[in-house]
């Protein structure tokens, strides 16, 4: 391959990229049934891996991704502890650099695309280790027995190797899905985690606080349905009305009636937004009578901007934790500093559950995800209901809690809009790219000349504004989900992602089946 002067400097990585292992691609068309088979196989493997506990782990671990599990997938303490985090992080970094035109890559050129793809893989591999290795210092610590056997260094290496291997498995499985299955592994793993969370959130009969005895007010069952049943049967009517029984069902905890209603509203909202679209009529330039439509969706940029925003915030939190108590806490000014973010529950480890990684001050607090009513409603308006160990009201004043709500909401909405614009730019979704795509498929607007510029002008009426609206709408839905909470550990964002992904996957499956029936359609959908 000749190395020209005007080629991107990323071509220096080519010797590595050329040899980097990759999952082989299917030759020719893969039948839909085969695709479903691979998808099922991978999701099965994923669930098995999520239940495989890292060997030699100390019983007391801290899940530093706890608040972002729904987005990052994976399972704490399992060998796929990292989930899709590295894939998303690697992808985002590259996309941001590409968007800022630092690489000088032309993503219409197949050769440049290959370099982009290869660099992305290297970045993902790097971020597996960058996010994996710090975990063994204080969060996923080796057990004393393992340390006694091999020494601290080796014990940490063994744990880190398992996490890294799991991270790489996720990466490879994602590649299998993308090449052999339906949709992408990244989306599939998110949906799998959220579905699991919704199920346990509805039906779990285990006490909300593990280890303690069941009690209708202090410690009811975790799932919504068993909780309603238990509280209504255990409490006498008078106590149910005035003794906190009703409040327990309606507001308290992750799985309350309010969060159930919010889950339902979000579901309807997302499905509605996903199915709203402007359809441009198209006709085939040569084949008379062949007509089609090009849909411009209201959710034009999909749920991606939200993943970006969440991943960004997750990284802020990660940095906050590492600066508070990790190997970096000795740094001057930023190490162990209140203004960056303090984590008072980190030391109690798994006893504090998901709250262990909740920042209670500083920048990290204001951009930390709102976890439903317990982050603002109960501490502000019903302090007697806030009974958890990690009551935010004990650390923050009312106006600080209110500021958190405002800052987080604005951050999510503005972030979604910015990333939507950014992504449409990077992913060739702008008017001229779409016009070229339609023209290449041999379609045209009926009644207009077959000219890309005319097509572009028509698309320009819709696409730029749709991009901004889709980002805004996504942000509003996400903020709503975060404020009112959702059933299970779905955490709003995760739910939003899952529903969006599912409705897209449904359409993709419909498309696949159409392609099975009409092989000609493949060219329009851009698959050989």
């Amino acid at each position: 391959m000749p190395k020209d002067e005007d080629k991107s400097w990323l071509y220096n990585l080519e010797p590595i990229i050329e040899r980097w292992p990759t999952v082989s691609r299917p030759e020719g068309h893969v039948h839909f049934r085969t695709k479903m088979l691979w998808t099922t196989g991978v999701i099965l493997t994923y669930f098995i891996l999520s239940n495989v506990i890292i060997w030699g782990l100390a019983p007391d671990t801290v899940d530093i991704f706890a608040q972002f599990r729904a987005v990052l997938a994976g399972a704490s303490g399992s060998i796929i502890h990292l989930g899709i985090g590295p894939i998303v992080t690697g992808g985002i970094i590259l996309q941001l650099f590409q968007g800022a035109n630092i690489f000088d890559l032309d993503l219409q050129d197949p050769e440049d695309k290959a370099i982009y793809q290869g660099t992305q893989k290297l970045l993902v591999f790097a971020s597996i280790w960058i996010t994996g290795i710090p975990q063994v210092f204080g969060f996923l610590t080796p057990s004393d027995a393992l340390i006694g056997w091999t020494g601290t260094g080796w014990a940490r290496t063994i744990i880190a190797l398992q996490i890294g291997l799991g991270g790489y498995f996720i990466f490879l499985m994602d590649e299998i899905i993308s090449k052999w299955g339906v949709g992408s592994g990244v989306s599939l793993f998110i949906v799998a985690g959220v579905a699991q969370g919704l199920f346990t959130g509805m039906f779990s009969w285990l006490p909300s606080q593990a280890g303690a005895a069941l009690d209708p007010i202090q410690n009811p069952p975790g799932g919504l349905i068993p909780k309603i049943f238990y509280v209504t049967t255990e409490l006498p009517l008078q106590q149910f009305v005035s003794g906190g029984g009703f409040e327990q069902i309606a507001f308290v905890g992750t799985n309350s009636l309010v969060s159930f209603i919010a889950t339902f509203v979000i579901f309807i909202g997302v499905v509605f937004a996903e199915s709203t679209r402007v359809e441009l009529p198209l006709s085939h330039a040569r084949v008379r009578g062949a007509r089609g439509r090009y849909p411009i969706r209201l959710m034009y940029t999909n749920v991606l901007p939200l993943i970006f925003v969440q991943a960004l915030l997750a990284n802020v939190n990660l940095i906050g934790i590492l600066l508070w108590s990790g190997p970096l806490s000795n740094l001057p000014l930023v190490g162990n500093a209140e203004w960056v973010g303090s984590y008072p529950f980190l030391a109690s480890g798994s006893a504090a559950g998901g709250s262990a990684t909740q920042a209670m001050s500083g920048i990290a607090y204001y951009v930390s995800p709102i976890q439903g009513l317990s982050s603002w409603f109960t501490p502000l308006f019903a302090p007697e209901l806030a009974q958890t160990v990690t009551n935010v009201a004990a650390y923050r004043t009312s106006w600080q809690i209110a500021a958190h709500v405002i800052v987080y909401t604005i951050a999510v909405i503005v972030g979604c809009i910015i990333f939507a614009i950014f992504w449409a730019e990077t992913a060739s979704m702008g008017p001229s790219d779409v016009a070229g795509k339609i023209r290449n498929s041999g379609m045209q607007l009926p009644g207009f000349r077959r000219d890309e510029r005319i097509l572009e002008r028509v698309l320009e009426r819709y696409i730029p504004s749709v991009i901004i609206i889709s980002g805004f709408l996504l942000g509003v839905l996400a903020a709503f989900a975060a404020l009112f909470g959702t059933i299970g550990a779905a955490q709003g964002t995760g739910l939003l992602l899952a529903i969006g992904i599912l409705s897209r996957t449904y359409e993709e499956i419909a498309k696949e089946q159409m392609m099975e029936m009409h092989p000609m359609m493949r060219s329009l959908f851009g698959q050989g």
């Binding site: 990229i17 050329e18 040899r19 980097w20 292992p21 990759t22 999952v23 082989s24 691609r25 691979w38 196989g41 991978v42 098995i48 495989v52 506990i53 890292i54 060997w55 030699g56 060998i79 998303v88 992808g91 590409q98 219409q108 695309k113 290959a114 982009y116 793809q117 290869g118 057990s143 027995a145 006694g148 056997w149 091999t150 498995f169 490879l172 994602d174 299998i176 993308s178 992408s184 990244v186 989306s187 940029t301 999909n302 991606l304 901007p305 993943i307 992504w423 992913a427 060739s428 790219d433 779409v434 070229g436 795509k437 290449n440 498929s441 992602l497 959908f525 851009g526 698959q527 050989g528």
Partner: protein, 61 residues
């Protein structure tokens, strides 16, 4: 790829831009069956270790 620029190879992974169709041909190719096999084998081994091999408690197995 039939549709040429823009259309082909672009994979939407909850939004990440990936070009799996444009990978280097010279790369080491892994059969997807092999990948899933390795995943299963690792899962099995780790479970076996967790079950049978407590560190420090003498020899494993």
């Amino acid at each position: 790829m039939a549709s040429g620029e823009g259309g082909g190879g672009f994979q939407e992974a909850a939004g990440l831009v990936r070009y799996f169709d444009e990978e280097e041909e010279s790369a080491i190719h892994l059969d997807p069956r092999l990948v899933l096999g390795i995943c299963f084998a690792t899962a099995f081994l780790t479970i076996l270790f967790n079950w049978q091999c407590t560190p420090g408690a003498g020899a494993c197995f």
